[in-house]
Symmetry: C2
Amino acid sequence: MIAQDAPGQTTPGQDERYREKMRKRKAAQDLEVASKTIEKGLLIVHTGRGKGKSTAAFGLLLRALGHNWRVGVVQFIKGAWSTGERDVLEARFADLVSWHTMGEGFTWETQDRARDVAAAEAAWAKAKALLDDPGIKLVILDELNVALRYDYVPIDDVVATLMQRRPGLHVVVTGRNAPPALIEAADLVTEMTPVKHHFEAGVKAQAGIEF
Amino acid sequence: MIAQDAPGQTTPGQDERYREKMRKRKAAQDLEVASKTIEKGLLIVHTGRGKGKSTAAFGLLLRALGHNWRVGVVQFIKGAWSTGERDVLEARFADLVSWHTMGEGFTWETQDRARDVAAAEAAWAKAKALLDDPGIKLVILDELNVALRYDYVPIDDVVATLMQRRPGLHVVVTGRNAPPALIEAADLVTEMTPVKHHFEAGVKAQAGIEF
């Protein structure tokens, strides 16, 4: 029987090797942690074709609530339907969360460019107001990348405004196809990549998972 | 001046092309949506070296709370420190969230394989109890992939147990290096890929972002 196949059972030699390996790893890790000293508000971008871009932003929002932060959310595209996260935040955290669903639904639902542009411009004006609110510590600009891709709002203004934000303010921008200028300006960029998707197996969008 | 550079301004021709493009896109989208008819509890895996794996799981948890679901969480590795999400859920959603932080910290902190294995086995026993609880609709097994990678719990038992779960029960497994057998069994797998990380620029782990 190979030792690795027997969880819970360790030999003295295996145990010592494990301890030595982890001791080295801890030393490296401690050095690594000690080398990071800067505190700053981060510009965070979640992009890519995979799921989890908005969901991870709302996970950060939940974490922020645990620190009693005030948080602002602007949704640039979504709008036509209710979501679980919005419902629970409006019902239970209205004191901490300023939530603005400004989109009119997916771009292919409205089929009217002038209307889409007007909605995105109103969303961006709301975003600027939240960025200027000194009581807010985290601003989520959900699907802003989509509005940028369709040129609904000007990328130069967005990047300049985000770069000039208050020190300490964290901002999360989500959506596919993050523009290069935004990635360049960001502190943390994660790409969500689909490996396998249940829609391809005929499973529909379900409450609690997709909305 | 190029029309695309002028958000908010559209010419009649551009507007018509836009409408036509979006009309086609909506038709394709409607067909696509109509073709998905299956409802089922999903086995979801968040893996990869990037950030957002656990955070997206907790974003799903927030969404689930909006649908008034009961949710179970087992943390296999993390444990030694408090996090914002845990604090707020224990304070405000104790009725809906059954939260179990069973790890003893990162593996390189304990430096004791037998202790790590014992902690992971206890976590897996707790996970099985949550999977068997008919009132729970979502179970998050945070960092289970790490416990699988170090052989703290047997992959065969984990995959068999997850495959045999109640219909309708959603499960999210997080952590780097998801094993191939788990990916094979899953309905939805997303890889979080780091594009840019603020730790590399000397920024430290900060409240509200990392914990």
